[in-house]
């Protein structure tokens, strides 16, 4: 049996409200809050980045798995905000966690689905018998251009998953990936902020790829939406995952627990992985979980998990996603936010 043996998430404490951003740019806050279903988003502290978020999430995963970090044979981090253009984030993360040096490390990049790619490769290396454990992390501190629609959603956070074969808490039963050349969102080398295709990001991009992976996954597994207790889809805003769930035949109740975007924002590579962590925090033995990520460019990775009886032993060993989402929030005004996100030009 191959699956998740430890999982952990992390969100920074800082928040900015959609209302605060809308006021800055003279936009109507209500249309954003109701239209995109985004209330507020996480903001990384000045001393936080993809690397520190990965370390915090991975520490929680290790607390749950209770394994020797030295037994981890690979660590992959998916992100579109790796702090270095050249030098893998994982090199710093393994040293902070006491993993390696006998370990395979790589950075993944595929817009918002880089995290699920890291999970996919980690799980399959374990399945191939190459190593005892492998860790896949999705983490981001994403930026939207000032005044752009993305500014309301681009947030910070991440989740880490240790894959293994012993004391599995959620078995991976099926996976499926769906990819095509679709230029819905990109960032050229040297540009500070990404560009997107406006309405083109909907049907030809998000919906086509999520539906493509989801439909194939259902066919492969000979399962139907009603067989699942929970479903989580990539959350670029509040609306898209609800809409794609509806189109596929999932109910609001199945989406509820993993649908954390209205109060977290889009954590990019951490989006569906943090949603999965929120589900695993409360899941019960026997529960079936359906997950499909999405990364612009574009592609989707789908997973079907079956929760085992080991889950109840590990849930309380580390902080839960909800703890980070609901507790000790620090609200920023737009000026503080612009300073935190280095949007202000300084004399250096």
């Amino acid at each position: 049996m191959v699956g998740i043996v430890g999982f952990g998430a992390y969100l920074p404490r800082y928040r900015i409200k959609a209302e605060t951003i809308a006021k800055q740019w003279g936009m109507d806050a209500n249309s954003i809050i109701r239209g995109l279903q985004l209330n507020e988003k996480t903001v990384p502290g000045q001393d936080e980045d993809t690397i520190t978020i990965s370390v915090a999430a991975a520490k929680n995963a290790l607390l749950r798995a209770q394994i020797d970090p030295q037994d981890i044979g690979a660590l992959y981090i998916g992100s579109e905000s790796h702090p270095y253009a050249v030098k893998p984030s994982g090199t710093i993360v393994i040293d902070a966690l006491g993993i390696g040096p006998h370990v395979h490390v790589a950075s993944y990049e595929f817009a918002c689905k880089a995290g699920s790619e890291a999970m996919y490769v980690a799980a399959n290396l374990v399945k191939a018998g190459e190593m005892k454990y492998a860790m896949g992390i999705g983490a981001d501190t994403s930026q939207g251009a000032p005044g752009d629609a993305l500014e309301y959603s681009a947030s910070a956070g991440g989740a880490a998953f240790i894959m293994g074969t012993e004391k599995v808490v959620a078995e991976i039963l099926f996976t499926h990936s769906y990819t095509s050349d679709t230029p819905d969102f990109w960032r050229r080398e040297g540009e500070d902020y990404p560009r997107h295709g406006g309405r083109f990001t909907g049907d030809p991009a998000y919906f086509k790829h999520v539906m493509g992976a989801a439909t194939a996954l259902l066919e492969k597994s000979k399962m139907k939406p009603s067989d699942f207790k929970y479903a989580v889809f990539h959350m670029p805003n509040g609306k898209f995952p609800q809409e794609v769930g509806k189109r596929l035949g999932f109910t609001k109740e199945q989406l509820e627990v993993g649908w954390i975007v209205p109060w977290m924002g889009n954590t990019y590579s951490g989006s569906s992985p943090t949603g999965l962590a929120a589900i695993l925090d409360v899941a019960k033995p026997g529960d079936m979980i359906f997950m499909v990520s999405f990364g612009s460019g574009a592609g989707s990775d789908g997973f079907i998990f079956k929760v085992t009886k080991e889950i109840t032993k590990v849930q309380n060993r580390a902080p839960k996603l909800k703890d980070y989402l609901d507790k000790d929030k620090i609200y920023l005004d737009y000026g503080e936010y612009a300073k935190f996100r280095k949007k202000i030009k300084l004399n250096e």
Binding site: D47, D49, Y84
Partner: protein, 130 residues
């Protein structure tokens, strides 16, 4: 080169690795070559607990150049649960009036500074209120 020194200090800065004197038990953090208590040169590496309490603190309102955009921030002397003391920034404090000696803290992994615009990012431990 700042990179060589930074690299050398990774075990203590990232993982709180200290040296315990094999003869008298003195714990050196950062690790030392010679025990200040018994002059032995044999240490075994140990990892310190990441939890402790604030012994004392000060609030920096005019910081050195590199930290001038992060003021105000608190720096504290932290006593870890295994009785060892170290100095660390206390991060994420909103109301400095409410900061108290004896408050419980946890050490977390954060970015400490950048070596200019093109140099390396430097990471290490900071304390956050537990």
């Amino acid at each position: 080169m700042i990179t060589a020194r930074y690299h050398r200090e990774v075990p203590q800065r990232y993982r709180l690795e200290a040296g315990k004197c094999t003869k008298c038990g003195y714990v050196a953090f950062p690790p030392r070559l010679v025990c200040p208590k018994c002059s032995t040169k044999k240490f075994k590496p140990i990892v310190l607990k990441d939890e402790g309490k604030i012994i004392t603190y000060t609030v920096i309102r005019v910081g050195p150049d590199k930290f001038s955009k992060e003021t105000p921030y608190a720096i504290g002397i932290i006593e870890l649960n295994d009785k060892l003391r170290l100095t660390a920034q206390i991060a994420g404090v909103v109301d400095f009036e409410k900061l108290k000696i004896g408050q419980k803290v946890k050490l977390v992994f954060r970015k400490i500074q950048d070596d200019g615009k093109a140099g390396i990012h430097m990471y290490g431990y900071k304390a956050v209120l537990a």
